[in-house]
Amino acid sequence: MIDVNDIRHQFPTLHQEVNGHPLVYLDNGATTHKPQVVIDAISHYYEKLNSNIHRGVHFLSQQATDAYEASRETIRQHLNAQHLHEIIFTKGNTEAINLVANGFRQILQEGDEVLVSAMEHHSNIVPWQMACQSSSATLKVIPMDEMGVLDMDSYKNLLSDKTKVVAVNHISNALGTINPVKQMIQWAHEVGAAVLIDGAQAGPHCSIDVQDLDADFYCISGHKVYGPTGIGALYGKEEWLKKLPPYQGGGEMIATVSFDKTTYADLPHKFEAGTPNIAGGIALKTAIDWINQIGLDNIVSYEKELVDYATEELSKIEGIRFIGQAQEKAGVISFIVGDIHPYDMGMILDKLGVAVRTGHHCAQPVMDQFCIPGTVRASFAVYNTKEDVNRLVEGVIKAQTMLS
């Protein structure tokens, strides 16, 4: 059970006025706020441990290295990866996907196919476009229906022995759809394709088991799971990580360097060139521990209640149209009202202290499919309340009055 008051108490950012109103923050799909323990973990690092890691023999360097590596272990457990060295620290999901897609440049060949879904974030489209371009492979798109659900028949038809990679998000940031990734992975494996799951939105909203899913790659962003900005984690199956060429060159990622020949270090260091975001890495552990202390199951059921309530209340508004109406949804409600431009709606909501996101949510192809310029998106976290939903609904009604 969730004690939302207790939880809210832990988030300093929530307790402020915006434009004269207490803040209602419903832009969690973009980034979540951080509990005090996470902020403190960062300060603690800088005040007590601060040191560069891995390469140092001195005390602070050891302490910092231990803390950083402990975080890797926490992430391993959280995603249920088999091996510690299958966890690569990244800057976030964008970097993670680029790391993998860049590696596939050298693996893909002309005639090969990469499948992405019609509801991907730009970060899971553009890197694959770039990889396909430089390898002359072909990018194909798994279509979705008007409810915002992927068409599994088409997916099955698209799969063939040409398919080398399938890249899909676990939960869509624009629509909230939860995709049947376990099934999709299984089918992809039947044709020998590797599967990358973009877990940016799944991180905060569902529990993840990479072994159960049998995912080849899975990535999460720290700043979306109550953790710091500039840090994330990529899981990759050992065999794949061994197969992929390194991404960035630099310190840490090499075993030996000479001008004639450079040999690369073992996993995970092969993919971790340069001084990482040490503070971020260490505090990401705190964030994940915090989530687990509340319990992902509790979070999931509490958020479902909120989203259901919000959907119900918003449905009463005349002219509202929900974009993304899958049965399996989490965390996100995207909508437009009449012919009101989402941008106009968002500005008025902001004046009323309600923070939502408007626009294409970095998923322009989704907007194109629905022939809309964008949506208003309310996205939820475990610290949101029914009162937040009420304020949203009031705001939408007020904006509607002003704008029509």
Binding site: H341, Y343, M347, P373, G374
Partner: protein, 140 residues
């Protein structure tokens, strides 16, 4: 036709009547509704101003020594803002537009009321209008 400066003063006075953002917003929305639309044929890619979330078309022509602007946007508040700018600059001499002070935008306290993306949009609109005027001016 009143001078740019006079019109700008009118606009400032008008906005001074509203103490709250709500009044200002509603006024902008009203202005947006009243904007004389751009002719469909001018809603071209060339006339599109790179904004952020809303699209803005701006067309300018030079007629009888005056610059005439028409414009449109798919978002009504953006439309209202361009309505203001069109009112301030349209049917004026190119040179006057080029030289015009644009501080009235700050004085109506709109910038603080707008998101930076929209405020940036506003700045690029003014810039674009001045660019047109400059082009016409140098034609002479």
């Amino acid at each position: 036709m009143a001078s740019i400066q006079d019109i700008q003063q009118d606009i400032i006075d008008e906005f001074d009547m509203f103490e709250e953002w709500m009044g200002k917003y509603e006024h902008i929305i009203d202005l947006g509704k009243s904007l004389p639309l751009i002719e469909e044929q001018f809603k071209t890619k060339d006339n599109l101003i790179k904004g952020c979330q809303s699209r803005v078309w701006l067309h300018a022509q030079h007629k009888d020594g005056k610059v005439i602007y028409t414009a449109d946007s798919d978002a009504i508040m953006t439309k209202g803002i361009i309505a203001l700018l069109v009112r301030a600059f349209s049917e004026q001499k190119a040179q006057d537009i080029v030289e015009a002070d644009t501080d009235f935008i700050n004085q109506i306290g709109l910038k603080e009321q707008l998101s930076p993306t929209r405020a940036n949009g506003l700045v690029s609109m003014v810039k674009q209008m001045k660019l047109y005027a400059l082009a016409f001016q140098s034609q002479n």
